[in-house]
């Protein structure tokens, strides 16, 4: 009898406790489908349901159900506003908006975000770039003095523009500066309404691929890394730390999925985002512009501090205490649970100048997919041969001789040396200097293809 009474009491107790765990956890994520470097924490996780697979269902989450919502934004700024309003718990964005996010939250009395994971980076700053109309006579940033140059003010590309001008002993005041969003800037480049447009990933490459713009300055010339990452509201992270850990696992898995088959990944991402697969391949393929690595490297924190100084100087960001904002405890836990050595990945930094040395040039044939060629001469000959058959080429990829950066074959400046070998450069100045040193000849892509095919 006594045992029965105890059992009833225990059951009643359990019933009372159970509803506290049987809650629906809302997870709202803001991402950017037009910003390639955010994809491993955004569109890929969303479309492959990676977060759903990783979410905890044990312990205090045994009876929890999850309501995951994704909202797509054109830039990071609105994501921060929505996070402040608690309409989003997580936000994925680029370096400059990340800083503004942390700083805006720290400017409040009661709200904070945590920078818990990266998505990827380019060590030298590629992804940002300055483009001119394709028929423009401008080949060098110094030629921009007095010209109309547009950029989304306050963005990573704006920061790059300031650094680039500074490095070239120029100021913003020396330009006719216009504040334009990427889509407007790109359209104005196409219509030849402005002299140049500075933008972030993947707009420069998008303009190059479409043949509407030509890059005259690559973000890598600033030498300032370009990175993206994930922020979470601290109140959410405090309440559901395991969910944050699950999200970081999903980011890692998204990177592995891309690395396993970049061509297939690019094709699938094109369907999800509308960004051309050839542009995506430039970012996500082996040797591509983006290194997928979520670790929070000390170098990145220094980069963000540098970026913050640029924003603060322009009165575009409140102060930011990095020490309390950057929190690597979640990513360390995620790596430990996945059995991956975090410190080993943390120490690894990919420099395209080293890592891409010797990588084969590529031709993406519409019918047969990607083909690789060990030398530029073979690559150019292959392009000539394929063109002769009338087969469609989606895109070609080569590596800048100086920086090792991957680029579209058609965007390069080729130098044919007297010994018949070819070397390719991202920038005309570099090609001219090299040609002078080897007594070679600078050729456009089409000219190089013609001479190699002859």
């Amino acid at each position: 009898m006594r045992l029965k009474a105890l059992s009833v009491a225990a059951a009643a107790g359990l019933l009372l406790i159970a509803p506290a765990y049987a809650e629906t956890i809302d997870i709202a994520i803001g991402h950017q489908s037009m910003c390639t470097d955010t994809y491993t924490a955004g569109i890929i996780v969303k479309e492959l349901h990676l977060l759903d697979k990783d979410l905890p269902h044990a312990g205090k989450y045994a009876n929890a159900t999850y309501n995951i919502t994704w909202k797509d934004y054109s830039s990071g700024g609105p994501i921060t506003n929505e996070m402040l309003a608690n309409k989003l718990n997580f936000g994925v964005m680029g370096d400059y908006p990340l800083i503004v996010n942390g700083a805006k939250f720290q400017a409040t009395d009661s709200l904070r975000t945590l920078y818990v994971s990266g998505t990827g980076y380019n060590l030298k700053g590629s992804g940002n770039g300055i483009d001119v109309p394709v028929a423009s006579k401008i080949y060098d940033i110094k030629q921009l003095t007095g010209k109309s140059v547009s950029t989304p003010v306050g963005s990573a590309s704006w920061g790059m523009l300031i650094k680039a001008l500074d490095d070239n002993h120029m100021t913003l005041a020396s330009l006719d500066l216009l504040n334009q969003s990427p889509a407007v800037g790109a359209a104005n480049i196409q219509a030849d309404k402005i002299d140049a447009h500075a933008d972030f990933c993947p707009w420069s490459e998008l303009m190059e691929f479409r043949g509407t713009g030509r890059k005259i300055y690559d973000g890598s010339q600033t030498g300032v890394p370009y990175l993206h990452g994930l922020v979470v509201r601290k109140d959410f992270a405090d309440k559901y730390p395991e969910v944050v850990v699950s999200f970081i696992k999903a980011i890692y898995q998204a990177g592995q999925w891309v690395d396993a088959d970049p061509m297939k990944a690019s094709q699938m991402m094109e369907g999800w985002t509308g960004v051309e697969k050839e542009v995506l391949y430039l970012y996500f393929s082996k040797g591509g512009l983006l290194t997928l690595d979520p670790t929070l490297k000390p170098q990145w924190i220094k980069t963000l501090q540098f970026d913050h100084d640029v924003l603060a100087k322009a009165d575009l960001s409140p102060p930011l205490d990095f020490k309390s904002w950057v929190d690597d405890s979640f990513i360390r836990k995620a790596y430990a649970e996945m059995g991956v050595n975090y410190d080993q990945d943390l120490a690894k930094i990919v420099d395209p100048a080293v890592a891409n040395r010797g990588l084969p040039d590529e031709v993406w044939e519409a019918k047969d997919g990607i083909k690789t060629y060990p030398t530029l001469k073979q690559f150019l000959k292959a392009v000539a041969d394929i063109k002769a058959t009338g087969a469609k080429i989606n895109a070609t990829y080569v590596y800048d001789n100086n920086s090792g950066l991957k680029m579209f074959g058609k965007s390069g400046f080729y130098v044919k040396s007297p010994d018949g070998s070819y070397t390719v450069f991202l920038l005309k100045d570099d090609a001219d200097s090299y040609a002078k040193s080897v007594k070679g000849q600078v050729l456009s892509f089409d000219q190089a293809v013609s001479t190699a095919g002859a």
């Binding site: 506003n81 309409k87 709200l111 306050g154 969003s181 960004v275």
Partner: protein
Amino acid sequence: MSGALAVMRETIRENRGAWLAMTFGFVVVYYMTLLAIVVWRIGSLPNYVVFYNWPADVLNIIRSTPSVRDMLPIIGNEWIFETGYKNYSYGHGIAEWSLAIIPPKVVVVTLLGALSGLSVLLLRRLRAHCPARMQGAGAAAAGLGSLLVAMTNVTLFWVSCCSTATWVVGLSLLGLETTTAYALLPYGTDLSVVGFAILLATNYLLARGCLPRAPRRPARSARGLAVQDL
């Protein structure tokens, strides 16, 4: 002071219909003008609208923001309606610009409409017994005050500016040179307050100008002779 206030009250009472029409008409005209200018500047008509559940969003902010001081500015940025132009040439469409209706801003614009409307009514009342120069000065001052408030409450968004304040982005969109627009950035609230102060002061002075004048006492000259004002 009380005399001027009485004149303002009387002016509103006598012209209640016109004043209300000007107050709310101003709000409509303000947002329609913003829309017209952006369409003219960019050359693209709006192709999407979004309605937001403003009360629910505000409730959510109240629930999730521990500090009241934090709550207010966040609520002050909540949108109730958005229209704009989405460019489908890139990705699955990317918004190029948007015009938002933000309730607290609407309140400010309504207040601006009310004060501007009062200025107009007071100027009309002054017409009978005030020199044209004073009327002109009044109109110019009211216009300046209105411009400052209107300018700092623009809710046009140039979608991809990652960290810029709304009203400055709006000014860039409306054609103001970028460097000048950003130079004004730190002074948004100050400019708005100054704008309202100018409007209030103008209305006060206009109302004083409308006060019935008491006959003046003749002043005395040094010789003790009465001097008549001419």
